[in-house]
Structures are given as C-alpha cells and as structure tokens.
C-alpha cells in the first residue's frame, strides 16, 4: 500500500528568526518499516517530525506521504494518515475524560456514535487502558498518560505512526511495556529518541542526525557499533551493546 511510505527530498528549514534547523535532509521510508531517528539535542529531530505532518512547511525541498506531497490542500488527508504522538502527553490529552479524548479524532471524522464507541474501546484495549476510560486525564500516572496518548492516535487508524521520545520520563517497567506494545503495531513507524536501547529493540533501521543533516542512514545494529559516528553525533553506544561492566564480556 503506497500511502504508507514517506519520501523526504532535500528538505531544508529555517525558523523565522533565521536559525537554520534542517539543511538538505533526504531519505525514503517504505511500507512497514520501523525507523529510529537519533541525534543529540538540537540536531533537528523534532523539527523534522513537524514536517511529516505539515505543521511546518519546508523552506526548500519536499515531503511526500504516499503519493501526495504535503501541501495545504492535502493536509487533512495527510493528518489522517500520519498519527503523531507528542513528547508531552499533557499536550495531547485535552478533553475532560480519557474516553472523550480518544473519541475526539473519530468524532471529527464525522463517524456515527456506535463506530466512535467501537474505535475508542478498541484503541484503549490495544494499549491496555480500557479501565481508564472514564477517568480525567490529569489524574493519570505518566505511563498511563503515555498509553492513552497513543490510543488517541490509534483511534484515528493512521497508516504511519510518528512518535517523539515515547519512552522519556517513564519508569523502567512502563518503558519496557511500551516497547513491547509498540512492537505489536504493524504500522510504518518513525521514532525520534535518545533511548538507543529502545531503537535497538524496535527499529531495524536508524537515521542519525547531526546539525540538521543526515549523518548516517542504515541498519541500526551496524550504526550503533560505529563509535566514530556516534561520537561525532553526540551519542554513545546503547548499554545493550557495550561490554559487561563486571566481567568485560561483550554481547
């Protein structure tokens, strides 16, 4: 299915104050791929994500989702196709109850009530949060908020999932659960993250960003053993790929 692919060609972007954030980014992500975007703070990861959804429009270059370029005209369709999970779930949960929040998107699609209910229940049970349905979002824990934020996006039934730091601020178990959950999705996934161990578990491909450009693009396992590259990009090997601190054994 072609609308699951993302093609970014020579994308450049400068903020209105003149700060250049992206300079000539090019990559292509095909259907069903799971791609991590890693890089130091300020490398341009979030700015890049904002382009995939048309929140920012490129100063030069283009973004295509499936067959359609991202333009003002295609935006409504693009936003239905690309589901975006924000870094701070509080930004994403704005309705009075969890159920209403998850139903917000489907309701805007103009679906009949039964369909909305079905989608809400389905999305919430997929993230294991059905019991939170009637709770107000501000009373949830960090992990619960994150799960519900993902459910709000799933309820839109997007083909592509874009996530900004999904594992930040989670305790180890909630993080593990989230990774397992994400692994069950067969969407095309793009995950911007500092959590290289998650990238290792979840994404077969990684794009390393450095100063607004693509520094490397390839299989995750290969890139994460390239110490010179990681050093240049302000990263470190994931813990899972370092020698054991006690016995020194690798793997």
């Amino acid at each position: 299915m072609s609308h699951h692919s993302i093609e970014v060609t020579d994308l450049s972007f400068a903020y209105p104050d003149g700060t250049s954030a992206l300079g000539g980014v090019t990559f292509r992500i095909t259907h069903g791929e799971s791609v991590a975007i890693v890089g130091a703070n300020g490398a341009g990861k979030s700015t890049l994500l904002m382009h995939l959804n048309g929140f920012l429009s490129p100063s030069a270059g283009s973004v295509r989702i499936g067959d359609a370029p991202v333009t003002a005209k295609t935006l409504p369709d693009i936003r239905k196709t690309v589901g975006m999970v924000f870094q701070d779930p509080d930004d994403q949960l704005f309705m009075p109850t969890v159920g209403e929040d998850v139903g917000f998107g489907p309701m805007n699609l103009g679906l009949p009530d039964e369909d909305i209910d079905a989608r809400v229940d389905d999305a919430l049970s997929r993230v294991g949060a059905l019991r939170l349905k009637d709770r107000p979002p501000y009373r949830l824990s960090g992990g619960e908020k994150r799960a519900v934020a993902i459910a709000t996006v799933l309820a839109m039934q997007p083909s592509i999932l874009v996530m900004d730091e999904p594992t930040s601020n989670l305790d180890p178990r909630a993080r593990r659960r989230l990774i397992e959950l994400l692994a069950t999705f067969d969407h095309t996934k793009i995950v911007a993250t500092h959590d290289l161990d998650m990238a290792l578990d979840l994404c077969e491909r990684t794009i390393v960003m450095c100063d607004g450009a693509v520094a490397a693009d390839g299989p995750t396992r290969e890139l994460f053993t390239d110490d010179a590259l990681l050093e240049a990009a302000g990263l470190e090997r994931p813990l899972g790929m370092r020698a054991c601190p006690v016995c020194g054994a690798t793997g």
């Binding site: 929140f55 936003r79 930004d91 704005f94 009075p96 917000f104 998107g105 979002p137 996006v153 839109m156």
Partner: protein, 270 residues
C-alpha cells in the same frame, strides 16, 4: 506555595463530588443551570437594604446540598476563602452611611450596617449556589448545558479548556514557586521583580503549550468545533424542578415571605 496545591486539590474534590449518583445529580444539567440562573438574577436584584426577604433563598442550596449528599464543611471552607472579597467590598458602608434606619431591641442600626450584611448574604448565596451547581453537575456538565442552551460554541470550549489546563498550569506554577523558594533561603524579600519575571515566563510557557495543544488537535482533525459527547434528555422531572424552583424564586422576590410569616404569627398570637 501550598495554596496553589490545595486549590487544585479542592477543584479536584469538587469534581469527585460531581460524580456521585443522587436524584439531584441525575437531573438534566440544563435544568440545574437554568434554575441556578433564575436564582442568581433574583438574589442580585434585591434592593440595597434588603436582608430578611433574601433569607428564603437559603432553601435552594440547603435542599440541593442535602439531597445531593454534599458535605457542608467543604462549602463552608470555600466560602471562608472567598469571603474577604465581599468584606472588602462592603467594608466602608457602615462608615459612610450612618443614618439609623432600624431599631433592634433599642439599639439603632445604621443603613451602612444593613447594606453590609445584605452584601455578605448576597455574596454567600450566589457563591454557594454556583458551587452546588458544579458539585452536582460537574464542570463538563455545566459546559455541555450552556452549549446546548444556545451559548456560543467558543464560550463552552473556552471553559472546557480552562478547566482541563488549570491543573497543568497550576502544577507548572507550583514547580516554579518551589524552585524560587529553594534558592531564596527563606528570605521573602525577593521582590516584585522576580514575580514579574516568573509570571512572564509562565505566560510564555503557556503560550507554547497552547500551540502544542492546538497542533495535537489539528492532528486529530479539529475543525473549530469541540463536540462534547453525551445525550441530554429533558424529562418531566427536570421541567418540574426548573419550573417549581423558578416559581418559588419569583414568589420570594415579589412577596416578602419572612415579613408575611411574621405578620401571620403575630396575628395568630394576638
């Protein structure tokens, strides 16, 4: 600042009260909003020196609170918190208006004192009525009601968002105040300037957040209307509630019920 914390906590408490299930809670939100509106208009329209004719209005919050199983102490505390505003507003009346208009057991009471009491009573009645409305309906219910009653969409949406993000904003403000306190070493004299900066950066953060929230909404097909779900059904009970109470309020307004009761009693006794 614990006051932010406890304020948020009490707001949350109001919310959990609204989730109880009593006959009053089950009434249609529109019925309660309309009735409360009539109540407020009647109470506010009393004259400057009216005190006794307003007393029958106490019936409404008392009946609703007891039927709705609401804790009295909660409301008393809330009233005390906001009472200083009313006191300040009426404070100068006894000083400015010294004409004696009333004799209570030989003691002359000036018009200023009477109007002062009238202000306090009015304030108490309106505040308690509003609190009871929210505690039996819930904030969302009130928003839904005013939207269905024909108030502009924007208005209901604003209220809804205000309620959702006041917790987030409060948390943020609390963290800032804490961070300031940790580095001001008990000295309170950190000055208005610091507070100015804090308020400014809080405003900027809020602005940023608003933008992110808006993006999140666009992501999910927001088209300018927030649709609040839920079916409202007006039953005969709701109509009876609204008409009954409204009629009572208008009666209380037109006739001085305590005076009539007093006259009746004196007539019977004499």
């Amino acid at each position: 600042m614990p006051s932010i914390e406890s304020g948020l906590y009490e707001l949350g408490q109001l919310d959990s009260l609204a989730r109880r299930d009593t006959p009053i809670h089950r009434l249609d939100p529109r019925a309660k909003v309309l009735t409360t509106l009539v109540f407020l208009v009647c109470v506010v329209s009393f004259g400057k020196y009216d005190v006794l004719p307003m007393l029958p209005y106490l019936l409404f919050p008392v009946v609703l609170a007891s039927e709705g199983d609401l804790p009295w102490r909660f409301f008393a505390r809330k009233l005390l918190v906001v009472a200083p505003f009313a006191v300040v507003i009426g404070m100068f009346n006894p000083l400015l208006d010294r004409a004696v208009i009333l004799h209570l057991g030989g003691v002359g009471v000036s018009g200023g004192w009477v109007s002062f009491v009238s202000i306090l009573l009015r304030f108490g009645l309106t505040t308690v009525a509003a609190l009871v409305l929210i505690a039996t309906t819930g904030f969302v219910g009130v928003c839904m009601a005013i939207e269905r009653l024909g108030a502009p969409d924007v208005f209901a949406t604003q209220l809804l968002f205000l309620y959702r993000y006041i917790f987030v904003l409060g948390d943020e403000a609390m963290r800032m105040v804490r961070a300031r306190a940790l580095r001001s070493f008990g000295r309170r004299g950190t000055g208005v300037r610091v507070y100015g900066h804090m308020l400014g950066s809080l405003l900027l953060r809020t602005y940023d957040r608003a933008q992110r929230v808006y993006l999140a909404m666009l992501c999910r097909g927001f088209d300018g209307h927030v649709r609040i779900r839920g079916q409202l059904r007006l039953s005969a009970r709701d109509v009876a509630f609204t008409l009954g109470w409204s009629a009572a309020f208008v009666l209380f307004r037109l006739f001085d019920v305590p005076l009539m009761a007093g006259l009746l009693i004196t007539k019977v006794l004499s």
